[in-house]
Symmetry: C2
Subunit: 221 residues, 2 copies
């Protein structure tokens, strides 16, 4: 069983709920923070003290407030952690159910579990912990099938940036000019058209408008 666990969750009530559940599971040491920066500090310190955390349970989105944060939300925190430590287990516990977001967490950041905050969220979180102890991954049923079926489209950072520019109102020609100025390749109008055409096919969109609507729903931009 995990010995030392950190909870990063801004909402007090949820944080408490998770804490109680971990106690019931018989975990000895559970620490709680409400900010990602605090989470990183604790993890850092624990590692230096040679008493590292076994497991991090973290939310994705943290509401901003007066405390400006270096790592304002979950993905930022996780990315930073993974620079030092590929081993610590990480479970994301979030309301987010957008497939692409979850996919990226597993692929890029090698998280070990993803649990949706639902009515059964705490129970699933408990299952996740036991699964991960056995070396398995865990994905909440809410996103599991969507994750496995939805064939893997190869959307890269260039595509994301392109869609983002488009959604900000730039014309394809303006994007082309911008890319030429900033030495981003491919930059030609023709290439941009081609790439957008591919994206439209991938996402079954009739035109650029629908494409943007779809990728916004997916949480891609």
């Amino acid at each position: 069983m995990f010995k030392k666990v950190l909870i990063a969750e801004d909402m007090e009530d949820i944080n408490k709920g998770v804490f109680a559940m971990l106690n019931e599971l018989g975990i000895q040491e559970v620490q709680q923070v409400q900010y990602c920066d605090d989470a990183y500090m604790r993890i850092q310190k624990a590692r230096l003290d040679k008493k590292p955390f076994d497991l991090l349970i973290t939310d994705l989105s943290f509401k901003e407030d007066y405390r400006t944060q270096k790592y304002p939300n979950g993905p930022d925190l996780i990315e930073r952690i993974r620079q030092d430590d590929r081993d610590m287990k990480i479970i994301v516990y979030s309301i987010e159910d957008k497939i692409q977001v979850v996919k990226k967490l597993f692929n890029s950041y090698k998280i070990n579990g993803y649990v949706c905050k639902t009515r059964r969220g705490l129970k699933n979180l408990s299952s996740a912990i036991t699964d991960i102890m056995k070396g398995k991954k865990y994905v909440s049923p809410e996103v599991d099938n969507a994750l496995s079926t939805h064939s893997d489209l190869d959307i890269n950072d260039y595509d994301i940036a392109l869609l983002s520019h488009l959604s900000k109102g730039m014309s394809q020609e303006e994007i082309s000019d911008y890319y030429k100025k900033n030495n981003i390749s491919p930059a030609s109008l023709s290439s941009i058209e081609k790439r957008l055409n591919k994206l439209r096919v991938d996402f079954n969109a009739n035109n650029a408008i629908q494409l943007i609507a779809i990728v916004k729903d997916l949480g891609l931009i």
Copy 2:
């Protein structure tokens, strides 16, 4: 002080947190439900028994599960309640911070308070209750200024439908044809262009693509 309060909130932990807070405020009778349909039933029954609720505190989004619901989420519930009862106080307690959504809740459904789920969420909820008891409205600081400054654009159902069709990939000409078939007026391509032009100006969008991106962010569609 309110005597009889109902909490509608699907997440168990949050529901508990709110319940505890209400107890501390000294409210005598607090009931809790995790589904909107249950909420409506209770409210209905309480009214028939001549012991109606003074106050409803409800979430906006309820996760779907195996129980199919007549009123799947907060707005549906609130709309239904307001058909019978314009007097019961309603506070929405939600993570949602999209201005247009909040605006619609106040304008169309005459809710009495809106509290954002944040770190200080419970404290704000408590303030909301005391404000509303005094006959005032309450709006969380997170959305308050945005709500008051952002001048009131007159976006109607026709506009929303138009934007929705656009986001689903229909061309303006297709929308025009569709409107003509279904006797929706105005239906001409020219009128549709004109309306979209107005919307682009209202929302400061360069083109239809950005327009859709913006209204999606605002939660309008």
